[in-house]
């Protein structure tokens, strides 16, 4: 019914609409763990909550961005805070819905559909939970195609959609709204949201990046929810293969494009260093070649894995995805879970083409995270190593 007002088809069912099953949600969550590139938090709890809703008779409709009416009103909904706090406070649909309603009443807009900020980690699932509660559809897409640590690191921002005004609400139903003055840098939205979230106990929901259907068609990374499900399905299918990592890379390249995923290294974690700076979990882990060649690799992280090198030579860097997985189970290993002695495969996955231009690289490239490196695409850094 809502669909008919916002999709072009107008007959109540969008051409590319689908209704999520519990199985879809589990696959999306698994895929989003890989696409999180080490960050974004564990989607386990959120997907449990969504599956619970589906089993209780609620439903989640997904629509493709190209099927949106140009004047539809789309809002991005995300959890904002710290994964550790989420591990304790889990999720509150009531706070999510409250944030949406607060946005509508404060800014006089009626929200027609929801979209994810990031397709990595728990925030891939958060809009699905709110959708189940409200009946609003979710758009098959996001603003990162992976996880990134900051609010402005999105294709929305890069396409001129502003994060503000935004609304933050916590589970006590405290609400903070934020509007930036003309000319204020977008990074201030992140700073305001971060400091309000600290006062909220490091868990809140943010409604932001309000956009029209017309804007969304340009600004959204399309079909990434579907991609996440495909990736999750590929992981599950490859697990039972005799050579799971090789099988997964093959499946990923079939699903995306040739050479989108590259198997960069197989190693055992032999050293690990962590620190915390300005609230970001920084560090690196060192891996030694499992085949005994003596090669040493290093994955540097700041919430997500950002830079990967073998014997000092860069092989993959942000915004391309660097994913560490257990070689046997293919379970993606988030940065907080890396432990000495783990035997891991390192995959590089090409980021969305939107992130590879100069303007985008200023926001999400290596230098945006304080590295000296100049971005080079994964495929150039690792020539011919796809069948490693």
């Amino acid at each position: 019914m809502i669909l008919s007002t916002i999709t072009k088809t107008g007959d109540g069912v969008a051409a590319n609409a689908w209704s999520l099953s519990a199985q879809d949600v589990a696959e999306i969550a698994l895929g989003a763990t890989l696409l999180g590139a080490g960050g974004g938090g564990d989607p386990y709890l959120s997907q449990l909550a969504v599956r619970h809703c589906l089993q209780s008779g609620q439903s989640v409709e997904v629509i493709a961005p190209e099927d949106l009416a140009d004047d539809a009103c789309i809002a991005c909904l995300a959890g904002f805070g710290a994964p550790t706090v989420e591990a304790e406070k889990m999720q509150s649909s009531a706070a999510m819905v409250y944030a949406l309603r607060a946005y509508e009443s404060r800014f006089g807009r009626r929200i027609d559909a929801l979209i994810a900020a990031e397709m990595g980690g728990g925030n891939a699932i958060v809009p699905l939970l709110a959708a189940a509660e409200t009946g609003l559809p979710v758009i098959d897409g996001d603003g990162m195609g992976r996880a990134f640590p900051e609010l402005q690191m999105t294709s929305y921002h890069l396409n001129g959609v502003s994060a503000t005004p935004f609304v933050l609400a916590d589970d006590h139903l405290n609400v903070v709204t934020c509007e930036l003055g003309a000319g204020a840098p977008e990074k201030m939205a992140e700073a305001f949201a971060r400091s309000a979230t600290i006062e909220m106990g490091m868990q809140a929901y943010i409604v932001c990046y309000l956009m029209t259907g017309a804007q969304a068609k340009r600004a959204v990374l399309a079909h990434t929810l579907t991609l996440s499900r495909v990736v999750g399905r590929a992981i599950a299918a490859a697990r039972s293969d005799g050579d799971p990592v090789r099988r997964l890379v093959h499946l990923l390249n079939n699903a995306m494009q040739s050479q989108a995923a590259i198997h960069l290294f197989d190693g055992k974690v032999t050293d690990l260093w962590r620190s915390t700076e300005k609230g970001f979990a920084k560090g690196w882990c060192q891996l030694e070649d499992l085949k005994g060649s003596g090669a040493t690799a290093r994955a540097q992280f700041q919430n997500e894995y950002l830079l990967f090198s073998i014997d000092g030579v860069s092989r993959a860097m942000t915004p391309d995805l660097i994913c560490l997985l257990d070689r046997e189970t293919l379970q993606p290993i988030p940065t907080p879970d890396v432990r000495y002695g783990q035997r891991l495969a390192v995959l590089g996955i090409a980021c969305h083409a939107q992130f590879r231009n100069a303007a985008a690289l200023q926001v999400v490239g290596p230098q945006a995270f304080g590295f000296d490196e100049v971005y080079q695409p994964l495929q150039q850094l690792a020539p011919g190593s796809g069948s490693r």
């Binding site: 449990l48 805070g81 560090g283 002695g341």
Partner: protein, 526 residues
Amino acid sequence: MRIGVDVGGTNTDAVLMNGRRVVALCKQPTSENISDGIVAAIGAVLAQSGVAPQCIRCTMIGTTQFTNAFVERRGMQPVGVIRIALPSTTAVPPLLDWPADARETIGDHCYLVGGGYRYDGRVDSHLDEGALRTAARALCRAGVSSVAISCVFSPLNAEMEQRAQAIMRSEIPGAAISLSSQIGSIGLLARENAAVMNASLAALSQRIVRSFRDALRRLDIDSPFYISQNDGTLLGADDVERYPVLTFASGPTNSMRGAAYLSGIDQAIVADIGGTTTDIGMLVNGFPRESAMTADIGGVRTNFRMPDVLALGLGGGSRVRNGRLVTVGPDSVGYRLTQDAQVFGGETLTASDIACAAGYVELGDCRRVADLPAKFVSDAVAEIHAQIAEGVDKIRTSATPLPLILVGGGSVLVRDPIPGVAQVITPEHAAVANAIGAAIAQVGGEIDRVYAYDTEGRDAVLAAARQTARDRAVAAGAEPDSVEIVDIEELPLAYVPGGAVRVRVKAAGDLALDNAEPVVNSNIQR
């Protein structure tokens, strides 16, 4: 002198040790009534050695009884689940990820009440005592007498859980209470799951610990006894009675610690070959390597730190079949080995029969398997070795050849070299490595909480945390001079300001046996 006992699903083993020396050992079938098997095993080692019961300074018991009960859904009871969390956590109610059969036993007695802390341990919501009392009365009416209590961020501050415990006790006479803060670390759902598992075994644990006590009484052993817990350290019997889940992973830990002790090697691969299964793990610095994965036990997600163990369906009781290919396992005759195996006069061909036919060992009457075709026997032997080789290859972390230590009653099944292994070692007394692991167990102390490095300083925090862990180990009964810090983990909390770091420090030391009455009471608050 001390006694180590391993009460497994198939066998009950006992060893008598004098300092570091094994004086006597015995393997008995586990009895339906557990205490009979213990009496038989300990009675035998005392008789063999001629040592009087009064000379036993303490007894250490390792057991998989509680794990097995939960996995097999045996002896479980309904549980009242109290989560102190409102207004948080509502999208993920308790028991959401439990398998239907376990959930059915637990029943539908879940209550969310107001309360909980923030990430820094400050109050987030005040405890709703009225709601707690209402829930307690409802549980009372439903006849539920075991209650699991969890609370948001209770590992940082357990006050609300303890207050809720007091209220439950006042409203439900004789209630058994399980507090999540006593069991698990950060991660509410997994910690709550563990508390509910624990509560579901409340009556069973009383019965089993009572049967341990009863066995020792019948043997005239009146010195203290301890039960080994997940990390290989000891817990007092009273604590196990209240927190049986703390023993869930002790089986593989004991066998691997025992293997290290018996072989004198502390970097190796260990295969513990039992009656039904083989557990393969890695020994690093004399301790089992821990798994990085969340541990699923009986289909329920927990955040226990378990040894990284690969279980194979191969053991002394594994059925051997001669079909198109010779197969061994995964099914086993289990505890009926001494009746069903052919060398013992039974009808079933088992891996133990093959070991006898191959001349690896003499059990029962080996003549009964003398006419098995030689080709069949050698194929079955090859299959057993191939299964072990595959397991070893899966668990190893590098291509560097490591020694393989074989322990457990089924260690006689393997004698030939295993590819990729430096040498295969079957130490003396390998069959009772588990009981030896229990006998040499240490006493531990642990701290796990979030500190602010920016205000307190990293060095000061770590020094304080190490001291607390040491103090707790000593308070739990460790010899002060022997206490060492065995593990330090620092995990900076992403996005949290102030340099918040979760610090986990574990200390362990030898049990102080010189005291007249060593008091092991672990870190559990009464």
